[in-house]
Symmetry: C2
Subunit: 175 residues, 2 copies
DNA sequence: AACAATCAGGACCGCATGGGTCCTGTTAAG
DNA sequence: CTTAACAGGACCCATGCGGTCCTGATTGTT
């Protein structure tokens, strides 16, 4: 259903957690790194998965790592600078809706007579635009101390329409 | 990689083919229906797949079907009225990027302490906007008489020459 | 110097999902 | 009555994702 991977979802969670750098691991004055077990504990995501996500994010230069004892991860950009497209690209690879985008030969069997050959690029670009226009800062629920939400959320119809007010909601997807 | 299903891709091809209604099956004056074998032949997509796509499109009321002999399919809207979002919804189901959108309970394991709970809706809406803003008419390559390519690659693996020649191969992969 | 903590980078497996085929009705034209 | 075509499944298989784990490399600590 056009769904992106759950890993990407986790990546967003992890990154936001990383932005709240003043965690329990902030020992070095200037570099409040966080360890993957720590993040896993804080977010509830299983540790191996967190580690995997962090590695991918490191490869994409979205986070920096400090090896060795007392090591960990830290952001290299502010949340405002990180777009959803960045995260998706880091985790899921380049954003390519169909196999027919770009000039991959042999990707599509019917490209000989295809009427929309290469036209998906249009859609692809639109998606990229939409994804690039949203930053992680907009994803984070503004000033919500999530310590409250520990108990299980209601089954359905959660009355948490609270955050609706403060978000600009750019929605500049149209062009 | 955030890819949508190949079926959706085929659906677009089929729909566009359907819009060029003046096919070989246009017997009835007012209702130029096309059969799925005919569309399969014209597009190069295997017949069973075409049939499957057509069925899904019929369920979504994007095309109308005429049963019985001399039956077939026809569009119910102009290409300009059909958005990519419509097609995706018809084939792949509702557009929901992550399992955490809407209030699906039990979808996400970490929703208890999640910092972005429900925030994916933002991204989701942006995607929907982007997908809704593009119609099939924009997807169709304007005035490309694909009648050239009719020689059927039915079997498979077209012997290496015809496919290579005429393809522009834009290779506009940005990043 | 030895140790421990932590990241790096894979290999690995199980499972869900999508892609594709096929079969059996049902409908309607000829 | 026969045939052409859709309807609606069931079905199998390959792909890829989600998740785990293992073996190094690196660096602070003791
Ligand atoms: S090239 Fe793949 S559908 Fe057109
Ligand atoms: S509820 Fe699923 S990641 Fe937040």
């Amino acid at each position: 259903m056009l769904r992106l991977s759950k890993l990407t979802d986790y990546a967003v969670v992890v990154l936001i957690r990383l932005s709240e750098g003043g965690g329990e691991c902030a020992r070095l004055g200037g570099e409040p790194v966080q360890t993957s077990p720590g993040i896993a504990l804080a977010t509830g995501v299983p540790e191996p998965t967190v580690a995997k996500v962090l590695k991918a994010l490191t490869s994409a230069n979205l986070v920096a790592s400090q090896r060795g004892a007392r090591g960990g991860y830290r952001l290299v950009q502010a949340l405002e600078q990180i777009t959803i497209a960045d995260v998706i690209t880091a985790i899921d690879g380049p954003i390519a809706l169909t196999a027919c985008v770009d000039g991959a030969p042999g990707a599509c069997d019917v490209q000989n007579m295809c009427a929309v050959k290469g036209r998906w690029d249009l859609v692809n670009d639109a998606i990229r635009q939409a994804l690039t226009s949203i930053t992680l800062a907009e994803m984070r629920v503004a000033s919500v101390p999530m310590a409250f939400r520990l108990p299980a959320p209601d089954h359905l119809a959660p009355p948490d329409r609270l955050a609706q007010g403060g978000v600009p909601l750019a929605a500049s997807a149209a062009e």
